[in-house]
Amino acid sequence: MASRSGVNDFVLRFANVNGTGSASANTLFAKAVFRMGLPVAAKNIFPSNIQGLPTWYEVRVSEKGYLGRREGIDLLVAVNPQSMEKDIRSVAPGGYLVYDDSKQLPPEWRREDIRFLGIPMIRMGMEHFPEPRTQLLMKNVIYVGALTALLDLDPEVVKALLHDQFGEKEKLIAMNIKALELGRNYALEHFDCPLGLRLEKRDLNRGKIMVDGNTATALGALYAGATVAAWYPITPSTSVMDAFAAYCEEYRKDPVTGKNRFAIVQAEDELASIGVVVGAGWNGARAFTATSGPGISLMTEFLGLAYFAEIPAVVVNVQRGGPSTGMPTRTQQADLISSAYASHGDTRHVLLFPSDPGECFELTAQAFDLAERLQTPVLVMTDLDLGMNDHVCHAFSWKDDRSFDRGKVLGAEELEQLKTWGRYLDVDGDGITYRTLPGTHPQKGAFFTRGTSKDEYARYTEDNDAYKRNVDRLMVKWATAARLVPPPELLRCKGQPVAGMLYFGTTAHAAREARDQLAQEGIFVEGIRIRSLPFHEEVRAFLDRYDRVYVVEQNRDAQMRTLLIQELDVPNHKLIPVLHYDGFPIPADTIYQQIRQHWPAAVNV
């Protein structure tokens, strides 16, 4: 069988044991590819424990910029004996296996259709480094070294990265470079380098960065002026707060006193986290929390309060595999309904759907504006794939004259001038009413906030008409929200489109690739990437254009489709679900296959 070949277009997988320092070596590899100017995507597939179980790291290089997940592994670096047998089976025919041959492989694991490239990584590590911990770590760098030769990964780029990473720590740098050279030389000596698969420099990453979504989300909150954050640890959202805390330490100290212009509370649970956010929002600070599915479930009651009492709150939901504790280290987009309609009674929450770290930054920042403008919770819906993996995206940008939209808040002077004021009086007709903050004015503007029914003047009432006026106004506000949220992004196609494809969040890359695959067979599909609930007017216009719209989502129950029907009342028969929900990021092929089957008559080019 012919070996796989190709320049700048392959999938590589590292099979390691977690807790052995492999993550940094693998990232080193991916980052080096990025610095070679190539589009690259990296996905960490890790178990829900701390140490000693199999973990994988998948890198896709795609000059065309297809950065969704692709099935079929072209080259696998196997250093975990625990999973080796299964790992070997996972390589695509014609692919390569780079493995640790310090110990011999059982003959029955051999395959004829892939190439075995044995490197005694562990042995080399033991020979060249004294300490056991270093030996463990350096074997990872050894395989990166081998890959520089096997794939034409520029060793100078890797070295530069090591310098950037370790800075002044010369010893560490030297040790890593030694390991790198060991691996590289071993490969050059023992194999025909490079393999058929290889890398060539390009200049496709100009203006781009490579970063994980959670860091970007944290930066969004930092730039948007969030001062109060409360959270409870949960995978995969924890690193949002880790990053936020770290950036605050750097950028939010009072230069004179050294004191903090922020307050972060690790709360006792998610009910308390959202409680803190609601309290701070009520009192005029920008506040947020980050969590994942189980946390959202626990925040349900408070989200209802914030909706009905009209209090700004930002919640980042880094979705993971559900239901229940589910698959905590896998990805899904399955909290749409539970987030959109969180809480009993007629409640609706604003959702935002970033699709890459750049948007995590931007939409998180916008979430604070929206929450204060609309006086309601805004949920930033990312997922494990986006939040915890590094993605290539446009560099973050911020206009220095950008100001925060604090919404309709009356100050002391404005209160002085007002004759009448009602906390829930819709003077502007947009459903958004004027609020006041505690402590503003000695005589004016005090009111009582509650989760019960009230009249326009915030007085408790059980009057049925007053109740109805109030909840009807909330629907007016919802309509206003639809005008304020970020518009969708269209993905045009070259030919005359025969159908639409709707998607959101991390599905973006796979959707683009699938569109191109379909186009090659003459099936032209226009894409629309949703960025919010309520849906922007353009979404309706898009849906109206097509008889069939494929709704692509990473959950079992077609939850986005439900939201589309519920909110826009589009004919449901034209919304065709395209679903993927096994916990891995959606591959382009899944979308392609599911759409393709609807077009049996299409010309196969």
């Binding site: 212009r261 308390a272 409680g275 600070a285 903050l437 007085r459």
Partner: protein
């Protein structure tokens, strides 16, 4: 339906240091049952605020859900109030406090609200030493849902429906002390002369100030056999941790005999004068108080007064080292690192 009191103001009403009259501290008409202990506590709050000459609008009132939690509508109508969800007032108060350290936070809760559904938040607000006056209106039952036993009901206490509580009581004051609360007192809604100074002292405390106020529910738990009835509490009240509260402006006019009184300086310059120390317990010694409370629980005594105090405790803002300016007053230039910093940040991701 909220009934606002007529705003007519008599010109000769006495005013406090800041020129506010008593009426300025009142709220809407109560919709609680006539005779409910909670209304007396509201009255005591009004009086304490009047006496301390607090600016009403600088108070934020927060509560959970229950008859007790309704009371914030019935006092301080010039203050912002927030009737949150059941049992979760502490977290909302924490957020509010973090947003603006400059207001006085007054939390009101019930025994159902704090000892059952709210236990976790109660414990953790204490652990953080949140700067709040936390008033628990303790009637040993769930008033608003019609009289079920709460977790502070005593074993063997009988409710109006005739049911006898079979579970051990949770003494929230004792628990608070065990957890390291820095100000713990117990009082009785029917004893304003004790309650008002305690509230004033609590308001001067720079941390979590817990007041467990026994407050009979006349409708569901004021019967014979109940240990939270007016009669029972009057008969078993052992008002021991007596004290005077002396605000900064006032001089101590009375001198106390040596060894029977002790002065504590508070955060804001006011003073607490403790009496009768030797015969009871030492309110600055956690263990002595706990011992006293445990003894009392054996005998059915209700020990009231200032139980424990740690006058110079550090509140959550101190722990988190937040700036002096309220966080909600910081603006773009204080908070946003700007595009230059973002360039650096971007560079790290290249």
């Amino acid at each position: 339906m909220t009934y606002l009191r007529p705003t007519f103001r008599h010109p000769d009403l006495p005013v406090n240091r800041l020129g506010y009259t008593f009426k300025d501290y009142e709220g809407g008409l109560s919709t609680l049952c006539a005779g409910c202990g909670h209304d007396s506590i509201s009255g005591a709050i009004v009086q304490a605020c009047f006496e301390l000459a607090i600016e009403p609008h600088r108070v934020a009132k927060l509560s959970g859900i229950g008859c007790s939690s309704k009371t914030p509508t019935y006092f301080l109508s010039q203050s912002h109030g927030f009737n949150t969800v059941h049992g979760r007032m502490p977290s909302v108060a924490t957020g509010a406090n973090l947003a603006n350290r400059d207001l006085l936070y007054l939390g009101v809760s019930g025994d159902g609200d704090s000892a059952s559904i709210g236990m976790g938040q109660f414990v953790h607000a204490i652990r953080r030493n949140l700067n709040i006056v936390y008033i628990l209106m303790n009637n040993g039952c769930y008033g608003l849902t019609k009289g079920q036993d709460s977790a502070t009901a005593d074993v063997g206490s009988k409710s109006k429906s005739g049911s006898v509580n079979k579970f051990a009581t949770i003494d929230l004051a004792s628990l608070a002390i065990e957890l390291g609360a820095t100000f713990v007192a117990r009082s009785f809604s029917g004893d304003k002369s004790q309650l008002v100074p305690l509230i004033r002292a609590a308001m001067s405390h720079g941390g979590f100030a817990f007041l467990d106020v026994v407050s009979p529910c006349v409708t569901f738990n004021n019967n014979l056999g109940s240990t939270k009835s007016y009669q029972y509490v009057r008969e078993h009240n052992h008002a021991a941790g007596t004290m005077d509260f002396v605000p900064p402006a006032e001089e101590i006019t009375v001198r106390y005999p040596e060894n029977t009184a002790r002065e504590l300086a508070m955060h804001d310059g006011s003073k607490i004068v403790l009496h009768k120390l030797p015969t009871e317990w030492d309110p600055m010694d956690r263990l002595s108080t706990m011992k006293r409370l445990h003894q009392a629980s054996m005998t059915g005594e209700i020990v009231t007064g200032l139980l424990y105090i740690e006058p110079d405790s550090e509140d959550l803002h101190a722990t988190l080292q937040t700036v002096d300016t309220p966080l909600n007053a910081l603006r773009e230039h204080d908070l946003c690192p700007g595009s230059r910093a973002l360039d650096e940040i971007n560079a790290a991701f290249r």
